[in-house]
Amino acid sequence: MALALAIIVALITIVSVVLFHVHHWWLPENIARNGAAFHNQFMLTMAVTGLFFVAAQLSLAYFLWRYKDRGDARKARYTHGNNTLEKIWTSVGAVLFIGMNLLGYRLWAQARFVGASPGALRIEVWAEQFQYWFRYASPDGSGHFCETNVHLMDDATGNPLGMNLSNPACQKNVVTDTLGVPVNRQVELLLRSKDVIHSFFVRELRLQQDIVPGMVIPIHFTATKVGTYEIVCTQLCGLGHYKMRAFMKVMTEPDFEKWLKQQAAEQ
């Protein structure tokens, strides 16, 4: 019984580690400029936790087998513990855990403490049950986001953001259902919600942020690879949550300009 159990525990440990290691189910490709730093931090954490995981589980397995009561005359060791050992693993744990955390801080600071650079392309992201809208100031980058009016918002007549369509500033704004961005240029998103809390998550950018009604939350990123990527909602937002998503198209600068002009013409 004890041997069988020890083998089961060891087997689970080894198979788990191997499956983490083969990367068969793994992070999708990275297209973010800071993705390498993310990867390093992820792998460091994987190494530290992996070490603890293997050590703890294999000790359990070993103890199960080694110290099983075999009915012999051996007596259990009588000890109430060891203060030196307690001090060692307390301080090792503290240094390791908190130190590892501090190492990851640069990454977080770059992404969240520092704002977008002045040359970044600004795009408004509007979320609603269960759809994203993306607003560009104008096809050529000039102009500004015109005011929206909650009473004018109507998805079923093609004015989801409630823009006053007789206002010239609004006429210049381009509203799309796909997030088109130029490659290798910083993009700043202003996240807004019309109704409940949603979320903006692009796996390949390693970027996730809730979209909270009543707040405008800025995030920024630089995509480094042309392609189409999925944007998903990760915050429970209602019955259609499972299908709330949109696509992000990363394009070369000329392609992006052409795409935005076409979007403007279509509306």
């Binding site: 050992l85 955390n101 801080y105 996730q208 429970l236």
Partner: protein
């Protein structure tokens, strides 16, 4: 010194059936009532998870009879997305509140705290009865949502506003269903608060002679810390629940911002903050995790020591670690909110403290291993589940080290990695502790032994099953599989569908293994082998009084304590254990 027992008045049990078994003030009856309430709830909760798993693994399979449960939620046995969310909300709420919070603390705690500290009953027996019945009503109100036209709420167990605060315009279930949910949770808070006061007063005031705090079994320490944590956290959740109810019914705007357009309707709210709810909720919600797991830690320490025939390694460190977890548990709630829109600077603070809370958790793990090290392990079912607890707690806890780091959480948040993490660390681990406690204390609670062979089969099935269910969730989480989705409609998720099938099959099989436990439980209650007075050769006071336990626990003569709780294999002692109330004097004990 020579005094063996402290004399008190002897009390007889009330005669009437209702006063004795239904509206009873006897902590042992109330403990069993809580236990069976949790058992009833866990069966429902597990059933709901089966339905969800079936839908995730086999989205097109029509579960026969599902439309009887809800004609609008599953028309023609096809599960609608909102019904999936209803099931998910109810699964989470039932499991967290009515299983993980009730059984380990109120169930075992009620039954065994007075017995282990040598008290006649809890400090406030009538309050105790009230707290159980309020909890019972809370469960009934929650389950009532299955039978209303609106259906259960769809906003998850966290009930984030505005989804939960604006009424039926937010979606099916958000009308009366969500209101009943809030009422149920508020009632539950009342029950939990009353219970917490009772536990604290009992532990501090009713310990028998010689039972100083550092001679209490670690179970009692865990129940005490849990009660303090519960007292401070459920009060906040109660307040938050009242505010949410006011937002829903009273037209206030605590959590609901202005100018919302939901389903084409402009709502008349102004100036509320959705993040305020998240702060209040997680100020409760994170300590709640410890409410669920601390009693399990106590039970595990107790059982590991008993069946290793060895004192707990680092008893004092264990007590301090329990306290540290209890205190730090109140300072880390923001780690649920790294990507919520909270200030990124506060994420820094919460993250550091969260890593810090890993330290006492690691201390506990090392001490559990230390307790087993050099022991003489008796691999009973209870012991196996305690070992299983350690394994699950380690696995689940370590994934927390990823989630505690904001830059990594910005990827993993909202994926199955989180689902795997909390199911292992607070779900499976806590339930393993409950199983351990059941196998361990069954002889005391019901006077008979559970079948050990069935118990071991149950353990192997559950242990392997839990890993088969939850380990793959780490992988699909890393691959970016978003949680709370009723279907995976996009091409990206299609390759992961086989893993979902695998998890579904594992979940059904592991669920089936639990039927062995249920059979064993009820069969042994009536047909099990009669239990001896101290079948496990354990040391704590519950094994000194006859079974069935007299109404006043010690027949009017309270035991006097002379030893620490875990005196096993003391060199020079007559047997390999010294009961806490034994008058045997052994030189090595003081030295050790």
């Amino acid at each position: 010194m020579a005094e063996l027992e402290a004399a008190v008045h002897h009390h007889e049990a009330p005669k009437g059936f209702i006063r004795r078994y239904v509206f009873s003030t006897d902590h042992k009856v109330i403990g069993k009532q809580y236990y069976f309430l949790a058992l009833f709830a866990v069966v429902i909760g597990m059933f709901l998870s089966w339905l969800m798993r079936m839908h995730l693994g086999y989205p097109n399979y029509k579960i026969p009879g599902l439309d009887l449960m809800s004609p609008t939620g599953a028309p023609g046995n096809v599960m609608t997305p909102e019904y999936y969310l209803s099931l998910m909300t109810m699964h989470g709420t039932i499991m967290i509140f009515f299983v993980l919070t009730t059984a380990p603390q109120s169930g075992f705690g009620n039954f065994f705290l007075p017995l282990q500290i040598g008290a006649e009953d809890m400090a406030f027996p009538r309050l105790n009865m009230l707290s159980f019945w309020v909890t019972f009503v809370a469960l009934m109100v929650l389950l009532a949502t299955f039978f209303i036209a609106d259906g259960p709420p769809i906003s998850g167990w966290t009930a984030y506003p505005p989804l939960s605060s604006i009424g039926s315009v937010a979606g099916p279930g958000e009308g009366l269903g969500q209101t009943l949910w809030v009422v149920s949770i508020a009632l539950f808070c009342v029950g939990a608060l009353l219970s917490a006061i009772n536990f604290i007063a009992t532990t501090l005031d009713l310990r028998t002679r010689g039972m100083n705090l550092m001679r209490m079994p670690l179970t009692c320490w865990a129940w005490l810390v849990t009660a303090i944590v519960g007292l401070l956290s459920f009060a906040v959740l109660f307040a938050a629940g009242v505010l949410l109810l006011l937002d829903r019914l009273g037209g206030t705007s605590f959590f609901t911002p202005a100018q919302l357009k939901v389903s084409g309707v402009v709502l008349q709210h102004a100036g509320g903050s959705p993040l305020l709810w998240q702060h209040l909720f997680w100020f409760f919600g994170h300590p709640e995790v410890y409410i669920a797991i601390l009693p399990g830690m106590g039970i595990t320490s107790h059982i590991l020591s008993t069946f290793s025939r060895k004192p707990v390694f680092g008893y004092r460190a264990m007590v301090y670690a329990l306290g540290a977890i209890g205190i730090l548990g109140f300072m880390v709630w923001g780690h649920h909110m790294f990507v919520s829109g909270m200030s990124p600077y506060s994420a820094f603070y919460f993250s550091i403290l969260t890593m810090a809370i890993g330290v006492p958790s690691a201390i506990k793990t090392f001490n559990w291993l230390g307790t087993m090290w050099g022991g003489k392990l008796r691999l009973t079912s209870a012991m196996l589940f305690a070992i299983g607890f350690v394994s699950m707690f380690v696995t689940g806890g370590l994934s927390g080290l990823f989630l505690a780091q904001p830059p990594l959480d910005a990827y993993l948040h909202g994926t199955y990695f989180v689902v795997a993490h909390f199911h292992m660390v607070m779900g499976v681990a806590a339930i393993f502790a409950m199983f351990a406690g059941t196998y361990f204390w069954f002889p005391k609670m019901f006077g008979r032994m559970m079948d050990e062979t069935l118990g071991k089969i149950h353990f192997v099935g559950s242990f392997v099953g839990a890993y088969l269910i939850f380990m793959p969730m780490h992988y699909i989480g890393i691959a970016g599989n978003v949680r709370r989705q009723s279907e995976f409609i996009d091409n990206f998720m299609q390759p992961l569908l086989p893993i979902h099938r695998f998890i579904t099959i594992a979940a059904l099989a592991t669920g089936a293994v639990q039927l062995i436990f249920l059979f064993n439980l009820f069969w042994s209650m009536f047909k099990g082998k009669k239990a001896e007075l101290n079948p496990w050769e354990a040391t704590s006071l519950e094994w000194t009084t006859p079974t069935p336990v007299p109404y006043d626990n010690f027949n009017g003569r309270l035991p006097v304590v002379h030893h620490g709780p875990y005196e096993y294999n003391v060199p020079g002692a007559a047997k390999d254990y010294i009961m806490q109330n034994s008058t045997e004097v052994v030189a090595a004990e003081a030295a050790g």
